[in-house]
């Protein structure tokens, strides 16, 4: 310190940043160089970890990870729903490049479909079982996605964002004010998913959130496999080419409208599934579940995690939903941190946009792009 003329602080910070970056690169390099079985083993271990997570016998050893202000298993369920939503929105925003600000509207459609068709408080009084209604909810959400998409996907960029924002608000206001959707009073006694233990007690009960979490976790894995298949096909290439240059894509024979509609419909279907799971767990659905803010949170999660990357979306969705809950029960200067959760997210997003606009785990394309810029800088030096 004393003998050398040290560079001023900003550069020192940069030094730390570079070192961190090298560290991360080393990890990702090691991951790609590792033999196949090592990667599989790591993946299996990770999945096993998440299946084990909601057990108190397991998470009590995890130090500060379990939430203090609320039931941790309950929190895990919420987090898993957000992860599912982030994976779905990532198709629309990350792959096809369509800015959808009203994604939570599709979640609401899914949840309300289940509520209307199963709850005794519904005017329809169909009282169908939950499992039967789930495919209907998914199909109906897809249809609503196609209905919204058909006129609006001809629009581009900002206009699309505005229309989708309007869609989510329409759904919310319909839920608040229409008699059919029961507003604040909501629907109660929505049935749980089926399944019984050997002793006759229902597997999906009221008190224990674990089975629901495991169900969502399993569905996340299936959905991710499906999305992965799509992205490694003609469909995924079409989506990315639309994101990259819509005109050029059209002129190369990509039926862009059709594939944008598919992106919208697949995203919507996943949100519908999440909504159906939510309704089946909560037992109760009313208009307060579907605030506009939720759409923004999921979008923030996708961008934070790394738009266009499935793993990024999972990490982003998990992190954002978890942090919100983690703030509960932590007091600072006499106020609960939870009250300031959105301020915190605003700050995090701004900081991210400045220092890491590509997200925590960017897609490999963007990562490559940023790597190049660094290379250019080094050559320039």
């Amino acid at each position: 310190m004393t003998t050398t003329v040290n560079p001023p602080t900003p550069e020192q910070q940069q030094g730390i940043g570079t070192r961190l970056r090298h560290g991360r690169e080393a990890i990702s390099q090691r991951w790609h160089d590792a033999p196949r079985w090592v990667r599989w083993a790591a993946l299996v271990a990770l999945i096993a970890f998440f299946y084990a997570l909601p057990n108190k016998e397991f998470y009590q050893y995890l130090g500060p990870i379990p939430t203090t202000g609320s039931n941790f298993t309950q929190v895990l369920f919420t987090v898993s729903i957000y992860v599912l939503l982030a994976v779905g929105l990532n198709i629309v925003v990350g792959f096809a490049g369509l800015l959808d600000l009203g994604y939570f509207g599709f979640f609401a459609v899914g949840a309300y479909t289940v509520a209307v068709l199963t709850s005794p408080s519904s005017n329809l009084k169909t009282l169908w079982p939950w499992l039967l209604v789930v495919p209907i909810a998914i199909a109906l959400t897809m249809v609503s996605g196609i209905m919204l998409g058909t006129p609006t996907l001809r629009l581009r960029g900002d206009y699309l964002a505005l229309v989708t924002l309007g869609f989510a608000e329409m759904i919310r206001i319909a839920a608040v004010s229409s008699d059919f959707l029961k507003g604040q009073r909501g629907f109660n006694q929505i049935p749980h998913p089926p399944g019984k233990y050997a002793d006759g007690k229902p597997f999906f009960g009221v008190l224990d959130a674990r089975p629901y979490y495991w169900l969502v976790l399993t569905l996340i894995i299936l959905v991710v496999l499906g999305v992965r298949n799509l992205t490694h096909s003609r469909v995924g290439r079409a989506w990315i080419s639309i994101r990259e240059d819509e005109d050029a894509a059209q002129l190369m024979g990509v039926p862009t409208f059709k594939f944008k509609l598919w992106a919208f419909a697949s995203g919507a279907a996943i949100a519908g599934l999440a909504g159906a799971l939510f309704a089946g767990k909560q037992n109760f659905v009313n208009s307060q579940n579907f605030e506009l803010l939720n759409s923004i949170i999921i979008l923030a999660a996708v961008i934070l995690g790394g738009s266009g990357n499935i793993v990024g979306a999972i990490v982003g969705g998990g992190l954002v939903a978890y942090m919100i809950e983690r703030f509960r029960g932590i007091e600072l200067f006499g106020t609960e941190l939870y009250e300031y959760r959105f301020l915190f997210f605003g700050v995090v997003l701004v900081v991210m946009m400045i220092f890491r606009p590509q997200g925590i785990i960017p897609n490999r394309r963007r990562a490559a792009e940023f790597k190049d810029r660094r290379k250019e800088v080094i050559v320039g030096e």
């Binding site: 003609r234 469909v235 050029a248 059209q250 190369m252 024979g253 862009t256 394309r365």
Partner: protein, 281 residues
């Protein structure tokens, strides 16, 4: 006639009576008295020419003559205000852009428009997908059709990258390729759509003479595989060296059409390119 030495192509001449005497001249693209207006500006004024199967047609003209506009009208980006364009006997107007591509017309762009964050291979695969029928469902469950088309598309893409000479760079992102490689990649991507007609919009822009020579070779090879080529080009030498016939535009009007040698000596063309001397005006 000097052009009989180009055996694969039937010599093409502008005069209509010749058509009857040469039955092999099958019209591929007919630009039929097309006028295109943007508000008060007439971008194309009664442009009329025909492109025959198997030839290399040059579309030239000074800057702002309407070459690219003509291209855009042909590929369905603009709708002609008057007249019509027929491709393989079918009217272009009213067709969607991807349908025109599926009919067999492919193009490159004056200012390169690749998909920058896709690899070279993926770029070409997008082109190959133009004729694929894999649905979302079969992609979702990796059904046999998906796997077959995926394999075929990839083989085709690799073959085309080999053809244009950038196969070793196929896993590179398009944005990371050099300028010349990007131009070649655009051609490969366009060829992947199995075109009958390939429209090249100033493919040699920014090339040095050696690269231009390579490009000439490539264009001839493409023609020899049976693809008709429409070439927009600034560089007169390149145009003269490779085209069978030339159409000259100026201020949105066709001012000349004919064999390269004829066009070169046409006083109107000379005037358009070099200006008219004061005393002749």
């Amino acid at each position: 006639m000097s052009d009989t030495e180009r055996t694969p192509v039937v010599p093409a001449q502008a005069d209509a009576p010749m058509v009857e005497t040469l039955p092999a001249r099958e019209p591929l693209l007919e630009v039929d008295h097309v006028t295109l207006r943007f508000g008060g500006v007439v971008a194309l004024n009664d442009v009329d020419f025909t492109l025959y199967k198997g030839e290399i047609l040059g579309l030239i003209g000074p800057n702002g003559a309407g070459k690219t506009t003509c291209f855009n009208a042909m590929t369905g980006i603009y709708q002609p205000s008057e007249g019509q364009i027929r491709f393989r006997g079918e009217k272009i107007s009213g067709k969607k852009r991807h349908q025109i591509t599926q009919l067999g017309m492919a193009r490159t762009f004056q200012n390169i428009r690749l998909f920058p964050e896709m690899t070279a291979l993926e770029n070409v695969q997008v082109g190959a997908d133009a004729h694929h029928r894999t649905s979302v469902v079969s992609a979702l469950f990796r059904l046999p059709r998906h796997r077959r088309e995926e394999r075929e598309g990839r083989e085709k893409a690799e073959r085309l990258l080999e053809f244009v000479g950038i196969r070793p760079r196929m896993h590179e992102f398009a944005r990371n390729l050099s300028y010349g490689e990007q131009r070649r990649l655009e051609i490969a991507r366009a060829l992947a759509t199995d075109p009958v007609l390939l429209c090249l919009d100033e493919p040699a822009a920014g090339f040095n003479p050696a690269e231009k020579e390579e490009l000439l070779q490539l264009i001839r090879q493409i023609r020899d595989t049976g693809v008709t080529v429409l070439l927009i080009e600034h560089d007169m030498r390149l145009v003269m060296g490779v085209t069978d016939r030339i159409v000259v535009l100026e201020f949105g009007k066709k001012i000349a059409e004919g064999l390269p040698a004829e066009v070169r000596d046409n006083p109107k063309v000379v005037a358009a390119y070099l200006g008219v001397p004061d005393d002749a005006a």
